[in-house]
Amino acid sequence: MRVRLLLVLALGLAPALCAAQTVQNATLRKAQQAFDNLEFRPALSGAQAALRERLTGFERARAYELLGFTYSGMDSILRAVDAFKQVILLEPERDFDPTRTSPKALSAFQVALTQVLVIRQLHVDSVTFVGGQGVVAVRYTVTQPARVVTRVLGGGPQTSLRIDSTVASGQVNIRWPARLASGDPVPAGDYNIVVEATVGQNNFSTSQPIRVTHGAVDTLPHLTSLPGYTYLPETEVPPKSWKPMGLALVYTGIALAGTSAFSSGDLGKTSLREGSLIGGGVILAGFVMTLRKPAPQPARGNILYNQLLREQISRRNTEIAQENTRRRQQVALSVVPVARQGGGR
């Protein structure tokens, strides 16, 4: 239901919104048509007549713009400059496409820019950073050398932070750390970055609304492995060999030979029955083990390597835990410019 209502309202208001950005005044439209036909005199008189009528701000700016272009076409540069000054005062952000504008008009517009104190192209970059570890980039262009003061207003009942004060001309870049005087991050809320330029009695100010939101700083996940490093098997199967059989023969041989050697000659022929039976079992076991897959043996190098890897991961995780503890006490600031309502004054 709410969506339908919004849709109906949007459809109803659309023509009105479009009309606000198009020229409705008949005199001005006629003058524009004359200019398009390169009829400068009718265009000039039409524009001047239109300015005497009731016009919207947009139409008034278009009327002065038409005058500026017409005077430029008629080589009346000073008048063109005067007309463009009015355009700039009405629409400070107004700019012309150099590829589609006559050089005369463009130069007159540039001269007009230098004769009017305005602040143009105030931009605030969208940015997200950890409070105290980043800055908000603010840039603007001031058309005349002037004392320019940049403030941040809003966000609270008495929040007014002067973030810059300088005498400048041309493009100015400011880096705002988004911190209060106490060093804490600015509270979340809607703010206005206001830039005021003053030269003698002339002054101009413009603003850019921004929205500051707070968020939790991302914590780092604990490591279970180091990239590029994998655990190695701590046991390895040695190649098959005859060593078990050989050792079984050696052990049995030693036992039987020892029995024979150490037997007393006075006691007659040595009995090897018991030794042979057990020795036979040992040799059989050795033979079977020779044929079988050898038992995995501890790989000392791999064990040490894994131990080092585990220690490294543990150390890194300790650092991550400390870093996460620190991060949980921090705040992530997101600064987003909000659409402006109108121009400067």
């Binding site: 029995t259 037997s263 057990i278 076991a285 050795g286 083990m289 050898p294």
Partner: protein, 228 residues
């Protein structure tokens, strides 16, 4: 005679009590150690003084092994009935009850040091020599494969005492051993085979000078043990 009967009874009771006790002990917590106990069939060859006194016999045995860190201990109780061999002149059989206790300490590689004692009693007492001695030696063990171990041991028998008197020089008594254990049923049962050879170069002196009266025994044991 009464004393002999008491001795034999004591030995049997000692063996039975030991086996029962050793069987009960594993029901306690033995997480940090390995313990195995089990029965064995024993068979042996016994000779004394000359080739005429030649006996062969068989019997039962029980062995228990405890391993803890680098230490291990073996207790073997065996009882054999030795009968005169056909190639000898002996006429009477006798029972030999033997206790072997060995404490072992792992040194390095396959080598362990052994220290213990042995005691063998003959019944009837005058048919064969009862003997006791302190044993010291070394064991070399090798893992043939998964769950299959063999061990070769050797050592000297010091301070030998004989029921019929006599003496042995410091290096006159020695023993050799060969053992095999095979784990079965996921290591819960261990099949065991052991061979032990003992030789005492005993000498007696009846006043007319030293007379050699050696004692020699080959003993084989095959059995199994429960591992806890």
């Amino acid at each position: 005679m009464r004393v002999e009967r008491w001795n034999v009874g004591m030995m049997e009771r000692l063996m039975a009590t030991s086996i029962v006790l050793l069987s009960i002990i594993p029901s306690f917590q033995l997480s940090a150690q390995h313990f195995s106990v089990g029965p064995q069939i024993a068979f042996g060859d016994y000779r004394e003084v000359s080739s005429d006194l030649h006996y062969r016999g068989s019997g039962i045995a029980g062995s228990a092994t405890l391993q803890w860190k680098q230490f291990s201990a073996d207790v073997v109780l065996s009882k054999l009935k030795y009968k005169p061999s056909n190639d000898g002149t002996a006429t009477k059989e006798f029972d030999a009850s033997q206790v072997d206790v060995r404490l072992r300490y792992y040194i390095t590689g396959p080598v362990s040091a052994e220290l213990g004692f042995m005691n063998r009693k003959a019944d009837p007492e005058f048919e064969a020599q009862s003997v006791g001695a302190v044993t010291a030696g070394a064991q070399m063990a090798y893992l043939l494969g998964p769950g299959v171990r063999m061990a070769l041991s050797g050592g000297l028998l010091f301070g030998s005492k004989y029921s019929g008197g006599g003496s042995t020089s410091a290096l006159g008594a020695l023993q050799l051993g060969l053992g095999l254990t095979v784990d079965a049923l996921r290591g819960r049962v261990r099949v065991t085979g052991d061979y032990g050879f003992q030789r005492f170069s005993r000498k007696t002196n009846d006043g007319s000078g030293d007379f050699p009266a050696p004692i020699q025994q080959s003993l084989g044991r095959i059995g199994f043990a429960l591992v806890f």
